[in-house]
Symmetry: C2
Subunit: 109 residues, 2 copies
């Protein structure tokens, strides 16, 4: 197993509250994506809506993938004013959330 | 928002049972990675261990990222004998699991 050098990934699963209007969800996601322009240590940002064909997604509706150069980059993001402000705005709209950080590795055979 | 063409991603979060020996976890993960050599529709396979600095990972210990060309590729993978055999071997060792499929998109500003 070989480490893919040079980045740490954060995956987030969100379930938005049913009472949050779809247009407001879209606006929040647009603002979320804009953090890549505001926070130096945030290198890439991707998202996707649940499209599961099994029923093992535990009700989560959205996936977000963020990449950083290293763990220090995540720490810097966590306390960045733009992230803190966004966090305060989105939190009331989330029914549940999982956040996990990891250094992706793969097997080369 | 623009769709990244040409692939569907599956993210899985696993929490292995405490009673499963670390060496057996390693073996299972190695066998898991080998599916990329056995299942035509499985295009990439990466994994990472939890390295969270927040405590929002809900006890999940491992992340897996698989990519497929399309949803049909996932469906083909689901019923592939190599996957079914692996699924049968790993299931008794998992305390909990989340599986979510999505087409990654990103904002280009």
């Amino acid at each position: 197993m070989e480490e893919v050098k040079g980045f740490v990934r954060r995956v987030l699963l969100f379930k938005f509250k049913a009472k949050t209007a779809p247009d407001h969800v879209k606006k929040l996601i647009k603002d979320y994506s804009n953090l890549v322009n505001l926070v130096e240590s945030l290198k890439t940002w991707h998202m996707g809506k649940d499209a599961s064909i099994e029923n093992l997604h535990e009700g989560f509706t959205h996936v977000f993938e963020l990449t950083f150069e290293d763990a220090e980059g995540i720490a810097a993001y966590m306390v960045h004013p733009a992230h803190l402000k966004f966090h305060e705005r989105i939190s009331p709209h989330l029914e549940k959330i999982v956040v996990i950080d990891y250094k992706p590795t793969s097997f080369h055979t």
